[in-house]
């Protein structure tokens, strides 16, 4: 656990970073699992003496971005969340008023997950981990575009779910670009990165809990979004959940669902005692090949949705040609629908928002919610054990 190794790293805190780093400008493509790890990187760069104002994220994904900056740089046909990265790289290389020194695009191999230790592994999708190598090829095939632009391309391979390895991996990735970098300094910065990420996740989980407690108090319905973190990008997830929120339904994202022991014990205690699972974050009862971090969390999210009465509806978002989601369609739907919860899936999301069909489906969803939400909540409450901690305060 990152928190256990933190004190050791902090005790070795070196002197402040050399000042020259403060002027370095680092560009980061706002893609894939940067959506769930950006706080880690901000914490890390801050500790390394990089001015946060000099850490530039590319804009949200858009068709325009792809057209303007990514055209002709794609190397292969695949899912849109990967395909669109060329546009993000291009924007950072060609679209900045003030030139960048570094384009930073980590190859994230494993993810820090609240399910870590309870599942087989927390790997990223093979496309997520390898995307930087794939996209890079499009910027090297005719000429080295990075070198021509005077930008260093930094793409460390990093196993974020293995904290002891991370300082070594990132030190190797940065030693040639950050003047005076030491191993001890990187170790400390990594510790701060984890702390920043943990703090951010905790805050959002607390917020989600407040929403759930409000729902419990008022006996009102909320919606849970099951998706990959990058579906939060308006250009990837097309803000479908925002359209629903406009109808007054609180929206929760599975990534930030509260994981407090009291709530977990209430939701999963019975399954643990019956021997189906070993802990609240164990998903062997529904998904034996628990290798992929985001997939694991989606399956877990479905189980949570099936058990929390006030989640009256689940919205599933999935990108076109997503190979990771494909085998999960049926189990996720089954887990949710068996509990009587409404389930709506938006599959095959691509570059353009299917505005017409989204509008119709949003209307359908709200219609069903208006008609059945109370009944769903009541039935789910009856099916669960009494004493839900959400309804205690």
């Amino acid at each position: 656990m990152p928190t256990l190794t933190l004190p050791r790293w902090l005790s070795k805190a070196p002197a402040a970073a050399p000042p020259s780093r403060a002027s370095l400008r680092i560009g980061i493509p706002r893609v894939l699992n940067l959506w769930s790890t950006h706080q880690f990187w901000m914490g890390l760069f801050g500790a390394l003496g990089i001015d946060p104002r000099n850490v530039i994220f590319s804009s949200d994904t858009s068709e325009e971005q792809g057209r303007q900056f990514g055209k002709g740089r794609g190397t292969v046909d695949c899912c849109y969340p990967v395909k669109c990265i060329s546009g993000h790289y291009g924007e950072l290389v060609f679209g900045q008023k003030q030139k960048l020194d570094i384009l930073f695009s980590p190859m994230i191999y494993t993810l820090p997950s609240f399910m870590s230790g309870h599942v087989a592994r927390t790997l990223t999708c093979p496309r997520v981990m390898a995307a930087p190598e794939n996209i890079k090829a499009g910027f090297l095939k005719e000429a080295d575009v990075f070198a021509e632009a005077g930008i260093k391309y930094v793409t460390p391979f990093v196993s974020l779910d293995e904290p002891p390895l991370v300082p070594k991996q990132l030190f190797e990735g940065f030693q040639d670009v950050l003047p005076g970098l030491t191993r001890a300094e990187m170790a400390q910065a990594v510790g701060e990165g984890y702390q920043a990420l943990q703090g951010f996740n905790d805050r959002l989980r607390r917020k989600s809990r407040e929403v759930l407690e409000w729902c419990a108090r008022e006996d009102r319905a909320c919606l849970l979004v099951l998706a990959r973190p990058y579906h939060m990008d308006p250009g990837i997830g097309h803000e479908i959940e925002v359209d629903l929120q406009a109808y007054g339904y609180p929206i929760l994202w599975m990534q930030y669902f509260p994981t407090d022991p009291d709530l977990m014990d209430w939701a999963f205690g019975e399954d643990i005692r019956a021997g189906f699972i070993k802990s609240p974050f164990d998903i062997r009862d529904v998904w034996p090949s628990s290798y992929s971090s985001n997939t694991n969390e989606i399956l877990w999210g479905a189980k949570v949705a099936a058990r929390i009465p006030w989640i009256a509806c689940v919205i599933r978002l999935s990108s076109y040609e997503c190979g990771m989601d494909q085998p999960t369609y049926t189990p996720v739907q089954q887990i949710i629908e068996r509990s009587g919860t409404l389930f709506f899936s938006f599959q095959d999301l691509d570059s353009t928002k299917p505005a017409g069909s989204v509008k119709i489906r949003v209307e359908t969803i709200t219609h069903y919610l208006e008609k059945y939400a109370r009944e769903i909540i009541a039935r789910k409450k009856a099916a669960m054990a009494p004493g839900c901690p959400l309804a205690q305060r």
Partner: protein, 505 residues
């Protein structure tokens, strides 16, 4: 609208396969090529199981696979799930679904990380449910987890002697397959190679079926030291020696790479690409399973490399692992020598990693990872082939990434002939015509190379032929032509003859 139930959804959990059932239950397996499947059947039977190889997957299986599982799966998953379901449906028609569930179990490789290979269970499960075969038992062996009694029951004992049998079976059949593909394009008597290979595989089937039983530890020692397998391979060598070849036929050499299933099977799942290439005048350099497993070993050991200096004991584990990998390669080479060192050597994983490093990180796994890039560069730099035919499954996740990285390689080496073929299972014309275009260029290169070698050595085709007629042993399939400064077989033969004649090449 669905109604709430207190019964939550649970994943399929097959009933265990018990020891008592061994005599009455047949283990089904498949998804490789026929030579290794036949020998694996022998290994299973030798260990006291009833085993049956599934028929080669067909386009019909692909359609069934698509129909019975969630949409969007990669084409190997569609082929293999459809293949199993169609076989079981056929059996069920005759003996009923309940009897099928009683008489058969299915065994397949399970997890190799986060690509869908690790999630096959879901596709199979859905396919079985949708076909009314819910009670059928299938077991996925995790490649990194050999003892799975808890999940499978005590019926299947994946013990050391059986594992070693499988491994030695892979080595032997890889060697046979490799030689077969080197010989068939040049055979003088059409069909002779196929007959010899069939005979050899049947012979190996008996060899593996009659493998003497040993306790686990003795079995390791026995496998490493026994002449049992080298003797068998010398017999195979003898069978091949009856084939007469004409190696002066100028043919482009095409190396097959790509996703594991597609590069291994021979049939409709990959448009019969091996046979098609041969029919189009190429010599195929097939992908050995041995190389794939060597890669998996390297991948596993890289973890200890990463943890060296961080975790206690990591260096020791790395050292032991390297020794194991050394033994693995030594064993393969020992068996290869028994076949006259005719089959291709296995490339060094370190070299493949070094070659691929500027384009693809060695730690990225799923599919063939950096090996796919490394093998293409290895074949190019070392003149192992004129062309790379890369079989990429439609909707595969890891493979698309390695192929994308190949754009950087081709940018750097524009004369590397690289044909990435997207295999959908039912878009044959498109894929093959694409391959044809690059093959045409490869043929020109092979011819140019041959003409160049003749010019360099000052030999004519007639002179070389006359020399071969005077040395008939050189026309045997088992005569070893050393790999010279050329990729093509004919060009290397000319170089060899020139050297024997004392000419400079």
């Amino acid at each position: 609208m669905a109604t709430a139930t207190t019964e939550h959804y649970r994943a399929y959990t097959p009933k265990p396969f018990t020891r008592a059932e061994r005599d009455s239950v047949t283990i089904l397996f498949g998804g490789l090529h026929w030579r290794i499947e036949r020998v694996l059947q022998a290994v299973l039977e030798n260990s006291g199981y009833r085993a049956r190889v599934l028929p080669i997957a067909t386009k019909e299986d692909l359609l069934t696979g698509r129909e019975v599982a969630d949409i969007g799966q990669c084409c190997p998953t569609s082929f293999t799930t459809g293949n199993l379901v169609n076989f079981l449906r056929g059996e069920a028609k005759q003996i009923g679904a309940a009897e099928v569930a009683k008489r058969y179990i299915y065994l397949t490789a399970g997890s190799c990380g986060a690509c869908r290979f690790g999630q096959y269970h879901q596709s199979y499960e859905l396919a079985l449910r949708n076909s009314g075969l819910d009670a059928f038992r299938m077991f996925l062996m995790a490649q990194d987890q050999l003892d799975q009694k808890a999940a499978m029951g005590d019926g299947l004992d994946l013990n050391l002697p059986m594992t070693l049998g499988c491994l030695w079976g892979i080595f032997c059949t890889d060697l046979v397959q490799d030689l077969e593909y080197q010989v068939r394009p040049y055979e003088v008597l059409p069909g002779q190679t196929d007959a010899v290979v069939k005979d050899s595989v049947e012979y190996l089937y008996e060899v593996f079926r009659n493998r003497p039983a040993r306790t686990p530890y003795r079995s390791v020692f026995w496998h490493l030291t026994t002449p049992y397998f080298t003797r068998a391979l010398r017999e195979v060598y003898r069978k091949f020696s009856q084939i007469e070849v004409d190696r002066l036929r100028v043919k482009p050499k095409v190396k097959i790479t790509g996703e594991f299933y597609l590069q291994t099977v021979e049939g409709e799942p990959n448009y019969n690409i091996h046979r098609w290439l041969e029919a189009e005048g190429a010599e195929v350099y097939p992908a050995a399973i041995t190389v794939w497993m060597d890669y998996l070993l390297r991948l596993g050991l890289q973890r200890f490399e990463d943890y060296s200096g961080i975790e206690k004991g990591a260096r020791l584990k790395l050292g032991l692992g390297r020794v194991a990998q050394g033994i693995y390669r030594w064993t393969f080479n020992r068996l290869r020598r028994a076949m006259g060192s005719l089959s291709h050597e296995i490339p060094s994983q370190f070299e493949l990693r070094r070659l691929a490093a500027p384009y693809f990180h060695s730690r990225l796994d799923g599919g063939e990872g950096d090996m796919l890039v490394g093998k293409a560069l290895w074949a190019y730099h070392r003149k192992k082939a004129h062309m790379i035919c890369e079989l990429s499954p439609y909707s595969c996740m890891p493979n698309t990434m390695s192929i994308g990285a190949m754009a950087g390689v081709v940018g750097r080496y524009p004369d590397l002939l690289y044909a990435p073929l997207e295999i959908k299972g039912d878009a044959e014309v498109h894929a093959l015509s694409r391959c044809q275009m690059i093959l045409t260029e490869a043929k020109k290169r092979a011819q140019r190379e041959f003409d160049d070698v003749l010019a360099r050595t000052g030999l004519t085709v007639d002179e070389v032929r006359a020399y071969l007629d005077a040395h008939p042993e050189m026309k045997r399939a088992t005569y070893r032509v050393p790999h010279g400064d050329a990729a093509g077989t004919a060009a290397n033969l000319v170089l060899h003859v020139a050297r024997r004649l004392g000419r400079r090449g």
